[in-house]
């Protein structure tokens, strides 16, 4: 069987995505004269991608945005460069292409950068040449017909924004799609491929810039030049990676395609003809759609952490409401009390003609053995579910960022010794146990003082006070706080808390920064019986170095 691969390359993918985003934002707006995407490097805005018009005027990637503004045509739009969003959009397109072949993948370098931990940095530095899709067309001739016509079809499908090439090897199709003079081309055999790539530059083999410069130093500029040199000489002079690239081009080695996996969506949608005019019928429709969506989730053994309700009305308004839950659910009795306030908050401007509800962040439900566990355990789990429902209600009304749990951290600096995390996190299980487990803090390695040593009220930030201490390392005799003089009757200390030098080079930091100063803490009792936690910061500026940090209330 003759192998056949298609590579689709989008030279201005990031610009196209931005253009589409702007169009969706305001469909009636005039298309901009030029689009430039910028990102920040060392606090300076720099051009990351420029459209063809701007490039024609001299704008280049890496140029300062201020300079690009002077060069770019009037009416040019400057948007932030978002490589992750661009790569995700291409991934979605690759999933869509699965209708043409079961094996469709992103360009390997792009996929690797996208899946890495520091994907934002890697994608930022990735050459735009790697923004492409590879489709394995082997064995699909009877389905698609003439491959040449298929390449023309794909070129027209993307309205000329994509360059298409079909070749017997992935490396060949990649090189042709990026560097061939025609926007769409097809070669049937390896011999034909050799002829087509003969004049293409050596970089079309996907070699790095270092190797490319080495080749150019030796007077090798094209693939044809490489083919004329014996393999042993190439190996000795330029190493094995070059031979590997040539083997991929010639088909003596096969290149893998990591297939894009389509993301399954759980949506229930209904279009109403005639549109729904009364609020009551809209609410009823949403409830029915929710019910059928939950049935669908139950059938698949799934529950969801997030739901979105989309209502489109006849006045071309689209209302989207997001519903985030504290724990995954697929039970109508749990969803209803949460979803009703959300429905009530929707403002309908006209008649609703389309309503859709989508379940997002779905997780597998672990089946419970109720009969084995016994009724007692089931009752107890009902209490846990009720607690989760409480979190849902809080989250909907005041936002998940205001529903918190406390956590201790490994620091002796009082204000750094704890933090508050959102109690509602993305869970991998519908059970609350996981929710609790995610907040199990290991207290073993964390310094914990007694209640006597740490006040129950910590002032953030510490408030400046005036004080007089008779001796340097003794508690003060009196302090002045909030305009009132407090005579100290007893006190103990100091407890020295040194700055955390490992957080940065202290000598280079501002010596007046309170967070970086050495502190001597004293616990004081005034004549009223008030217990105060004060400290003296060893700052360079000696005018103000006493602070009150806490009170036992």
């Amino acid at each position: 069987m003759c192998l056949s691969f298609m590579c689709i390359y989008f030279p201005e993918w990031a610009i196209d995505v931005t253009k589409r985003k702007l169009l969706l934002k305001d469909p009636k707006a005039h298309p901009p004269s030029a689009i430039l995407l910028t990102h920040r490097i060392a606090n300076q805005a720099v051009v990351a991608r420029a459209c063809k018009v701007s490039r024609g005027l001299g704008v280049k990637s890496g140029m300062a945005a201020s300079l690009a503004r002077a060069i770019a045509p009037k009416g040019a739009i400057f948007e932030p460069f978002d490589p992750i969003q661009d790569a995700s959009a291409l991934s979605t397109l690759a999933s869509w292409c699965l209708r043409f072949s079961p094996i469709v993948g992103l360009d390997n370098d792009l996929r690797r950068a996208l899946s890495s931990e520091k994907n934002d940095k890697e994608l930022l530095n990735l050459d735009p040449k790697y923004y492409g899709i590879t489709i394995d067309l082997t064995g699909t001739e009877r389905l698609h017909g003439d491959p040449k016509k298929l390449s023309i079809y794909f070129h027209s499908l993307f309205k000329g924004t994509g360059r298409v090439a079909i070749a017997p090897t992935i490396a060949g199709a990649w090189a042709l799609s990026r560097y061939h003079s025609k926007a769409h081309c097809y070669c049937e055999s390896l011999e034909e491929l050799k002829l087509l790539v003969n004049d293409l530059p050596a970089r079309s083999l996907r070699i790095g810039p270092e190797l490319e410069s080495k080749l150019s130093e030796a007077g090798i500029y094209t693939v044809g030049d490489l083919e004329r040199i014996s393999r042993s000489v190439l190996s000795q002079r330029f190493g094995k990676p070059l031979l590997y690239r040539l083997a991929l081009l010639n088909g003596t080695m096969l290149e893998p395609i990591i297939t894009a996996s389509p993301k399954e969506r759980f949506v229930t949608r209904r279009i109403f003809e005639p549109p729904l005019s009364s609020r009551k019928s809209i609410v009823l429709a949403i409830e029915r759609l929710t019910s059928s969506l939950l049935d669908l989730l139950k059938q698949r053994g799934l529950s969801a952490l997030r739901f979105t309700i989309t209502v489109k009305d006849t006045e071309e308004n689209t209302t989207v409401k997001d519903l985030s839950l504290a724990s995954a659910a697929n039970d109508k009795t749990r969803i209803t009390p949460v979803i009703v306030p959300v429905i009530e908050s929707i403002v309908f401007c006209g008649e609703a003609y389309e309503i859709a509800i989508e379940a997002l962040d779905t997780v597998l439900v672990s089946p419970s053995q109720a009969s084995f566990s016994g009724d007692k355990l089931r009752d107890h789990e009902a209490v846990n579910r009720a607690f989760n429902d409480l979190l849902n209600s809080f989250s909907l009304r005041i936002g998940r960022e205001r529903i918190l749990r406390a956590a201790l951290t490994t620091s002796y600096i009082p204000e750094r010794s704890y933090r508050y995390d959102s109690a509602i996190t993305k869970l991998n299980s519908s059970e609350l146990q996981t929710n609790e487990a995610s907040h199990q803090y290991n207290l073993e390695n964390i310094p914990v003082a007694s209640v006597k040593e740490r006040p129950t009220l910590i002032l953030t930030p510490p408030e400046p006070i005036t004080s007089i201490a008779m001796l340097p390392d003794k508690p003060p005799s009196w302090i002045s706080w909030r305009g009132e003089r407090l005579n100290i009757v007893s006190g103990f200390g100091p407890e020295r808390i040194a700055p955390e030098w490992w957080r940065g080079n202290l000598s280079e930091q501002n010596a007046l920064d309170l967070k970086l100063a050495e502190r001597d803490y004293f616990t004081l009792q005034d004549t009223q019986g008030r217990w105060l936690w004060v400290f003296r910061a060893n700052l360079n500026d000696t005018s103000q170095n006493w602070f009150i940090h806490g009170v036992w209330t």
């Binding site: 355990l377 209490v383 607690f387 409480l390 005041i398 749990r405 146990q433 907040h439 914990v448 910590i458």
Partner: protein, 266 residues
């Protein structure tokens, strides 16, 4: 069904839930139910002219700790059959009962809150080595079983208190309460009574004379002590449905570290 009611359903022996004790025999014995009654609301006022709008934090934290601990101690003392051992493990590991702190101004500083459990764990471990594992499981729960709610305004604060009191998943609500009417406190009382949840409403001292249907009213103010530990004056200003057996004002201080830093004594 609140966690307390759920536990009662599960364990018939737990027919009467223990009251929330101060841990001070002089105060607890003076109260008709030997502590703060559960299923009711209690108001606590903090009086310190230098720090207006400040609420008490230490004593409510200790009360929350004692509330949780007394229920869990009841569980520990029960004769667990082999069939219920799994249930016992689950109850303890899930950090029941849960405490909801509503309003940022009432949140105790986490290091102090964490210290309540950890210090007692060390003491308990010292007392009984064999109980180490269980005790450690129990003691961390106040810190981990605490939920902190930060409502943006007063209306939302009242809504959050009401919702938490009516939630079957909550045992104790500690809230920094704005100025509220008697009707609101009555609504809270009814919710607390119906759902067997308890509320400690930490209120501004200036509102101490406003009508309220709280079961008890307490005024806490700093008190000068001769020891090196903080001390407060605790005054019982109102107690519904019961007469005091002894006086109504006590002085409490944090216990010596050797005896357990989480306790207070007269």
């Amino acid at each position: 069904m609140s966690p307390l009611l759920a536990l009662k359903t599960l364990i018939p022996e737990l027919d009467s839930a223990p009251a929330i004790q101060f841990g001070v025999p002089e105060i607890d014995s003076a109260l008709p139910s030997n502590g703060l009654r559960r299923g009711a609301i209690h108001e606590i006022f903090y009086h310190d002219p230098l720090i207006p709008n400040c609420v008490a934090r230490t004593i409510p934290s200790i009360l929350a700790y004692n509330a949780r601990q007394s229920l869990l101690e009841s569980l520990k003392d029960l004769n667990w059959g082999a069939a219920n051992l799994k249930l016992k493990d689950k109850l303890t590991s899930l950090s029941l009962p849960r405490v909801v702190w509503i309003g940022r101004s009432c949140w105790p500083a986490p290091p102090a809150l964490a210290a309540l459990g950890v210090r007692s764990a060390e003491n308990n471990t010292r007392d009984n080595e064999s109980e180490e594992l269980t005790t450690n499981t129990l003691v961390d729960s106040l810190f981990q079983g605490s939920l902190f709610i930060d409502p943006p305004d007063e209306t939302t604060t009242l809504w959050a208190i009401d919702l938490a009191l009516r939630s079957p998943g909550v045992d104790l609500v500690v809230a920094a309460t704005p100025k509220i009417s008697r009707i609101t406190t009555q609504r809270f009382s009814l919710a607390a009574s119906r759902y067997s949840t308890t509320a400690l409403l930490l209120r501004d001292y200036q509102d101490r004379d406003s009508p309220s249907s709280a079961h008890s009213k307490w005024v806490i103010s700093p008190n000068r002590s001769d020891n090196d530990t903080p001390s407060w004056s605790v005054c019982l200003a109102k107690l519904k449905g019961g007469a005091l057996t002894q006086g109504s004002e006590w002085v409490v201080r944090l216990q010596d570290e050797t005896k357990g830093a989480y306790e207070i004594c007269a």
